[in-house]
Symmetry: C2
Subunit: 147 residues, 2 copies
Amino acid sequence: MADKNHELRKAGLKVTLPRVKILQILESATDQHHLSAEDVYKTLLEAGEDVGLATVYRVLTQFESAGLVVRHNFDGGHAVFELSHEEHHDHMVCLESGEIIEFFDETIERRQQEIAEEHGYELVDHALVLYVRPRGSKATRQESIKK
Amino acid sequence: MADKNHELRKAGLKVTLPRVKILQILESATDQHHLSAEDVYKTLLEAGEDVGLATVYRVLTQFESAGLVVRHNFDGGHAVFELSHEEHHDHMVCLESGEIIEFFDETIERRQQEIAEEHGYELVDHALVLYVRPRGSKATRQESIKK
DNA sequence: TTCTATGCAAATTATTTGCAGCACT
DNA sequence: AGTGCTGCAAATAATTTGCATAGAA
């Protein structure tokens, strides 16, 4: 736990209850570690914490700047945040269950790099999301999960 | 032009002035054919047309359902629309100029397909955006264009 | 005439900001 | 006391919806 606090200090953020709690929530979200600000907020309320939604947004944004979390703008209006792993990865979203699967592919990574260069650019970042459905399902892109 | 009207009819949409105008705007946006609803709205106003912003959103959404346009949720809050080309392509966004470059890469397309399958899924759609900067530039992901 | 489509204003959703009070140094 | 942090409410930004009327078939 001194560990976690250190992460915050290192980021130039004071160790406060909301920040520690939010970090905990992000860490303990094992099954689905992509949470929206609203998700985090609800979890806090359920835990009996008295934290405002505005603070959740502020803290998540600070964490993002500090590199502690990554913000994703998948389709569907709201952003989701995940604790930043050391290793980069992309995402696959199941249109039927809303489940998010992570993957990493060396070939794709390399090609992206090359493509940017071929066009005279330098690759800074990228966002790749595969929208998929279980084999045989009829789920379409339109009916994306609103969750 | 009977051509365009036919496109609309084929989509089950009546040929009305707002729809025809919006289609024209999308077609004539040669240099940068990725327009936000607001962009389209402004262009209409400049052209002296009396069309409401709500209608622009409604029409663009209808066009999307009809497959006439594609909606992209790049970072930065607002969606952009482009006339759907027959051939699929992905996008590269220059963090410095905001310019959007299109590209297509067979290797990446194939790998995406394979990856979905390896995980037991069927690929329905995907979104790939490369955020790039001119060689030597210092532009970062954070300061993305707000345009 | 019969619906569909549109304009306008009000409603929503996601997120940000202003501000007065509290906390820690 | 000083500066950072927080909750709450009000402010934005993007997009959607309700409703009475104008327009296409």
